[in-house]
Amino acid sequence: MSEHSHELEWETSPWPLIVCVGILLFAPLAFSFHFVYEKPAATLVSLALGGVLILISVIGWVKDGLEDKHGWGAGLSFPAMPFFILAEAFIFVALFAAYWMIRLKAPHWPPAGTPHISMVTPVIMTVILVSSSVTIHLAEMRHEAGNHTGFLGWLWVTIILGAVFFFLTMKEWSHLIGEGFNTTTNAYSTVFYSITGLHASHVFIGVALFVCILIPAHMRKTNSTFIRTASLYWHFVDIVWFFVVSQVYFWL
């Protein structure tokens, strides 16, 4: 009896509501407090509170997901991911369209005020990101084969490569800002920081997803759909980088 009636309970989960309250505090309110109303204390409070709420609910959500209580729609995340990637791709399409519209009517490019931008860093970054795409695929294959140690090893390598990539983006930014090239400098700085920033935020999300896989994996809890889906997302982040690097860095 208990089996049957348990199945027909109303399903609940507190995490969606909590994460949304966190997002409300973390994004719109913190942004407005900082940039519009200039209240540093309120900014800090809403950032901290929002961050904690988001963190708690992500942990809770991942935990529930690995336990997979209902098992409804199990395995569907992987075929659903391409739809999410389609939407993500259009964010980039819009930004590239903005870039091209500004670029193609500019009298000369890059506009005055642009310092020399080294082409070495982007090449290194490309190599790192492409290798991380390979390593996550290796990790995925080890997991399918049931080799848990190999899976953990390649996952660690991927996370480190992703983090190094993110670090290099930040390092390049601080270098360029040090040379007086910031968001307000000219039209090129406008597109440079927004497009590389958008891509870096995707790298950050990808690494965060891998960390969400890594920590439970050390406790021998894994979900193969989750791994395949995160890896698919990472390949997308990798492919977009080719557009970023060819359009923003090498088409000068």
Binding site: P79, F83, A87, F90
Partner: protein
Amino acid sequence: MSQSVSFGKNLSQWIFTTDHKRVGILYLIGSLAAFAVAGLMAVLIRVELSSIGPTITNPQTYNVWLYFHGAAMILGFQIPALTGFLANYLVPLMIGAKDVAFPRVNALSLWLFWMGIIVALLTFVVPNPPDFMWTAYPPYSIMSGGNTSFYTFTVLIMGFSSIVGGINLIATIIYMRAPGVTWAKLNIFVWATMCAFILQLIFVPVLGSAVTLLTLDKYLGTHFFDPAMGGDVLLYENLFWFYSHPAVYVILLPMMGIIYEIVATFAKNRIFNKKVVVFGGFIGTTVLSGEVWVHHLFTSGMPNWIRLGMMVSTLLISVPVGLMMIGLVGTLYRGAIQYKTPMLYACGFIFLFLVGGLTGIPHAMAALTLALHDTHFVVAHFHYVIAVSGTFAVFGGVYYLFPKMTGKMYNEALAKLAFFVLFIGVNVTFFTMFIVGLKGMPRRYFDYSHMPQLEHLHKIQTYGAFVIGLGALLILITWLHGAFYGKKAPTNPWGSRSLEWTHTESPPGPGNFGGKPLDLPEDWDPYGYGVNPD
């Protein structure tokens, strides 16, 4: 003890719910709240315009009202009510699924939408609220003292909510149909929402990018829309309308879908030309929707060949929309029509949508648009074709699903009275608006002292707005009365053949179909009313 404990348990079962039906109902409550506040803004705007000169407010506050009315009606009411409430409630029931593919993600999209509503409502309490239109065109939105970031975040949060909600329902429709529910037999509403969600996936991200660039320009000093530094103001208008024109199809497709369901049920008839409506009408609209946005910029500088191309593609849209209308009228033809309240809304919809659609044709003509652009004629057109039609579709849908959602019947006489009050109100207001617009009244103006001859027509519109308000109030009373004091509803009061009526309780419990797998007969058809298929 037990009462407060069970109340607490009930509350937590509602606010933490991941069940698609409850998520749908919470979507409905949020969107109706947005409708109420935005509708109040509309009445205030009409009162301000009822006489020449400042009537009840100043231009600054008037701008905030206009902003809130537009943004909340489109982003907070129409899209969530149609793609959030109706699609969430109906799609899993219609395809015989236990729930959506990702129930927790569904709750996430619901609460994101509520957070969007909260950010939008903060407009009324924060200093320096956004005072530009819902379009937020630069340079004004960048130069204005209003809080542009609130607008950006409202759009971003609601946009993210639509994207994850859309992916969820697309995955549900593709992978979770019960055995026997084939693509060919799928309910027409499911087809319509599927197309609407595909549109959302493609176009919402572009709007998200556009409004983000606005905030970057204003608060981080970038130069996307600053011509002095190599940016381009028209860039924003293009990105904005690249989303916002398809957004009307995101609204149009589900509203057509629900109207089709209502018409088929109350005419007890098969859907006329279902294949043509789905492939030609819905998918045709989906394909064409991304190629028409420039008609919003006809008065901006552009080469004539673009104007010509966009004029042709805009006129082409009338073909798939025409196919949908023919399908509706064909479904009525030789049907056994019962004029219950949902059917009245469907018939009202057909009339309003025809008026709105036909007055849209002059706007597609680049030459005529130069004269009509930014007049009240345009405002009347899109209110007929999207705003009022969409509202009729939502209200009709709520009445249609009322017995299923609440397990109670509403009072038919009161509901019909409310319908006629609303129907008269919208026609008085918006038909007069056509006349005022043709006489040259510009939209968004705070005052019209340069054309005093229009004052009596403006007065008529304001009276109409009060009638609309009265109608909305009566509808609310009908619903509340029905929900609390209505008679118990049978499981299938309308005699529909569709799964959500034939195979579920009223209201359906957890798991929708009692936890048993569905066993559909070979000849099952959601529109099998014993009429020979054409």
